[in-house]
Symmetry: D3
Subunit: 263 residues, 6 copies
């Protein structure tokens, strides 16, 4: 018999709480650690539609990257999306666990998966925050190498690898050899990336001034989308859970997809 | 057909949100404004045991004085009392409404009920915060008059009227003529009470230094208990709800009682 | 003989300082109010390349939307872009004036120009901050109407009208009738836009969670780019300056273009 | 010849300043370290009546637990109790020393005396803050053992041992075996007490929600009064001072008693 | 029979509390409003030596410009000057009243006396904070006129008028016609003074950069000493008190003089 | 060929950045590290007049003690002195370096030069902040010894040594044997100086209450002027630069002098 607590402890081995940002909210955010689990749904976000899908499938547990509670709520009602997600989960007796910035930073987490997806070799943690119990460095950004290609070739490769509907970028004026990746909103690490000698940075949610900062620093800055850069970890996480808990049924959300399109 | 929203709007007429303290949390804190209501339970507190009683009885709505969410929670789990109350309510499809400091302050609210209970006449709002739409002053503390009695006689009367297991008090050295009342933790209004010429103040949760401040100011300060001073409003609120919504079944919690005893 | 101060006073009539955000920096940020002006360059941004272009052309004054100093600098050196812009301007004896959030908010400013560009009729200020001396309401966001079209048709129109290399959007599930526009980073006004009954919002620098919030609120949210949504005001501003100061040569920067591309 | 400074240094050995809370005010708060001392009065509080008693007796020094200055005063006048105490002391040439949270925490201080009074054995410091120069752990709360008794029996014992006029308590549903004590207002340590496996906690100034928290945690929580739980240290402190300074006359205040009564 | 309270109320008519700076501390800072007064000592500062002089003379009340308590003290002992002043006053049964920034600002206060001393005519309040009950403007700085003289002549006049041991100044390059005065540390009003068209500013405690700012602004800035610019009000205040309370003996401190000398 | 960066690195050896106060601004504050340098002007302050002198002389670099930018400017215009200095420097292609509190604290810096000027022997750092790479203690204040003289004799010596127009002082009542020095505004170190057993303290910008504090502490406190106490380091710094960079022409500002005079 597997409990929510068993899953929680296992996820803690993949993405220890000590690796999260101080402002973040991770772990068991809804339900009960003692609950028995026979079906786990895994998704990037605990949006209402995903919670409903989990309920319809009969899940006992929803495991996501983003937290179902970020701003602590003063009320839990169907007036807002967070309330609707929580009401759906609790009424359907589904517990919710998440691993957010701890999974971004952990070895084998969001950013190692992203680095692999875009084909980096000799991947390293940029400016590590520390080393884990096995002596592996951990931290937010990964950097690695590719055989030198033009920016256009690399854009083509990223778009295909991540299944993006489109990309936004600025041309830093260099071929692509040394690449940094940070899934989600990591553009504030731009100077760090430049200082490390990277010519190219793949991240998301990039703002106007950040594109210009990149141009000034001579870095190719690619916004490949928040969903597209983070979602690859979902399949990896689901697979690990299935191996660790063979008697539990693990399923990836089928309906969750990026709501942002290009025109 | 009555909805949660109908009840919410009615309670807003009894205790407008604009009368609440800035730090307080009132209104619909759990569930759905659109929910149909046929059974309402009323209680002072939304503790887990009360939520369970409401669920067993088949309530659609729980109306309380104290809020089910005060410190906004970062997680809703069965690890703590607030989480257990919320899980119980949501799983049993019970919405939750509360009126807290707005009900303390409103005409006909907690403190008018308390003033009546302890037998005050010529009751007035002490230092009103404003006037309501009907021109009635509103605010936290009430003061009124009693025919002059000794402090011991007045203690006996308060104990009987509120059904207290015991009282704590300091003797300010005066007979009881002009009395202020503030249900719950209102001892910080002591100086205001003294400045208004009251000889006696009935409130709860009084601390050591507040008893001494009262002695120094020559005020008889009586701690009649948080539950005992606030619970009388529950029956009044339930009766008003029943009158306003005759087709809905309204019931006062039978199990909720003070957990604090005297020895 | 026209001075920098004459231009400054004229721009103040178009975009009064009192309309700026409290955190913003606008007006004469570099040079001398007493300087004589015979050539004005106008551009969206005072980037180093634009300053150099102005110097090469022999400008006496650079008028921009974005400020050359935003974070007040502790040093002015060629180590960073702001320092390089300032050194270039001062060495070439070019003063610099800007109108930023005051021009966003002013009647006839950034957002009125944008509303006209995307073809809105019956344009109004959404939640005005006040009225100007002529009694016209002013504020950040504009909303207006279009003859009902599908979102795809509207995307096509916006892309053409603003000359965008691409667009990012989320589909709120409604045809396009009532449209709000906010040049630059205005997505935090999303709820306001939804509350006003708009079905569509054109702005820039939209983040992941904002696309999802729009979807939840049923609003078509279009990120048309910071440069593309704000740059149209440059030609309008240049034309006004030319009319107001016929003896001065006014020129729009030829090299300044968006550094962000789509793939 | 004994000076105030000699007493101050001795008290520092009993209750080092380094053990006080950061917000506290302890030591020589009034008078002169150089003053000669032949008569010391000892009391829990430096209220005006106690200062007058000390003056009438001819004391040179008043040693108390609570500080005569807590909120630093902007004026020293007979308009408030603190001013009246200070005026009385200074006019009668009485210096004032106190040991407050340092005496709560010190080995042999307020809480060790309280633990002994209520009959605890195997007394330990709960969650020590550190160890003193002799290697003894120090900190606020003490816990110890009693031969298992019913809560009613323990209440009777506490009431008798501390001479309380009454007690307030909540029944945690367990017999009394492992007891924590914290004189004065220590109820915020409740969770710590529960986590340490204590079934019973004796403290004072307990509020409504704290009684309920105790019930939820299954802890018998007893409010034995601020004065009653702290005053026992006065006799111990007076005795130690008399032994350390045999040529000085040490006397405990005769008039200082709790102003709070039960009905 | 005159009481401290009578004096306090009279001083309040000369220098209302509402005219003080928000950070200031004025009024009855030591003793008792009910005390009878037959002897008042008046001085600029309540230093220990002045308090001792007052005690030796048998004063009941010390009236000063500077407050005896500015930083609220955590202890009142002979370890520091403030403690020694308070101990001296209280042991000698002397109450202490002060009027500080309220007397600086009040009509007829510190700065009107100073303006008269240095021979200004057509004296006005610079940038008044408001008007008093009699419709007179009040505020910190005064400005007025002198028949045009050279700076050297004016320096000679100020030195003689205020009895200064020396002066420090910077030469703003202008003859002296329109003069601002601010007793004590008022140099931060320099820009205000320059904006008002004054050519000369007399104040005290001037710092290096303030002398340079004055030079840059073309203002003659004269540091005539804190004591020398403020002490003239003492005689005026003493005279007013003597007139208002003819039965009370009023005396100016004989020993209080500036401790700062020139070489 | 010498660059600005070479000078910067050399000054860093004399006054490491790590020795500056946290609020200070030091180093290359204007211009370019890559600029070639053939002429350096050295001065205490980068006032507009000094910048003009440097420009007229053809300087490439201005080295000062005080920073040209202290409060980071929101605009760089000829409306204020800082703007005028910066415009002058940049238009004349002069870079600007400064060493401020780091030079105050460094061995051989402002305060060691001052100590030597006033004739101290056995000079030590008072309360050192640390030791530098060579093991030498560093910090703000120096103290040393003089053969015992009267205060009047010492005042005469200081005035002559520093070329002061005048001195301000308070007489602490002791002959001069052990002297502390702190160039510029260091009077807040007075208690430290007294605690170290110094009888005399030479600093500048002393305020009224600081003179009185000194009198109370029995310390002779001498205000010898901000310029006079700091300017001696300029010649020392210029000489060191000339030795280190023999091919560069180094010149001390001829026009910069104190703007503060005595009368």
């Amino acid at each position: 018999m597997t409990t929510v607590n068993d899953i929680l402890k296992y996820i803690e081995t993949l993405a220890p709480k000590s690796m999260k940002e101080h402002w973040d909210n991770v772990g068991l955010l809804c339900g009960s650690a003692k609950q028995e689990v026979s079906k786990i749904m895994v998704a990037l976000d605990p949006f209402e539609s995903v919670c409903k899908e989990a309920a319809d499938w009969g899940a006992d547990l929803l495991v996501t990257h983003h937290p179902v509670i970020f701003q602590a709520p003063k009320a839990i009602t169907d007036d807002d999306g967070v309330g609707r997600s929580l009401l759906q989960l609790i009424r359907s007796n589904i517990s919710a666990i998440n691993a957010h910035t701890n999974l971004d930073c952990a070895p084998g987490g969001v950013n190692d998966v992203l680095a692999a997806k875009v084909g980096l070799s000799h991947v390293q943690v940029l400016c590590p925050n520390g080393v884990d119990e096995e002596g592996r460095p951990w931290g937010l950004i990964r950097c690695g190498e590719v055989t030198s290609v033009s920016l256009q070739q690399f854009l083509s490769r990223v778009k295909a690898a991540l299944g993006c509907d489109g990309l936004r970028y600025t041309d830093g004026g260099k071929p692509v050899c040394k690449v940094a990746v940070g899934g989600g909103s990591c553009a504030s690490a731009l100077r760090q990336v430049a200082d490390a000698g990277c010519d190219t940075f793949v991240t998301a949610d990039v703002k106007y001034n950040q594109f210009w900062d990149a141009k000034e620093l001579g870095v190719n800055l690619i916004d490949a989308g928040h969903f597209a850069t983070e979602n690859p970890v979902v399949a990896v996480l689901a697979a690990k859970l299935q191996v660790a808990f063979p008697d539990v049924e693990v399923k990836i959300s089928e309906i969750h997809a990026d709501c942002m399109k290009f025109y």
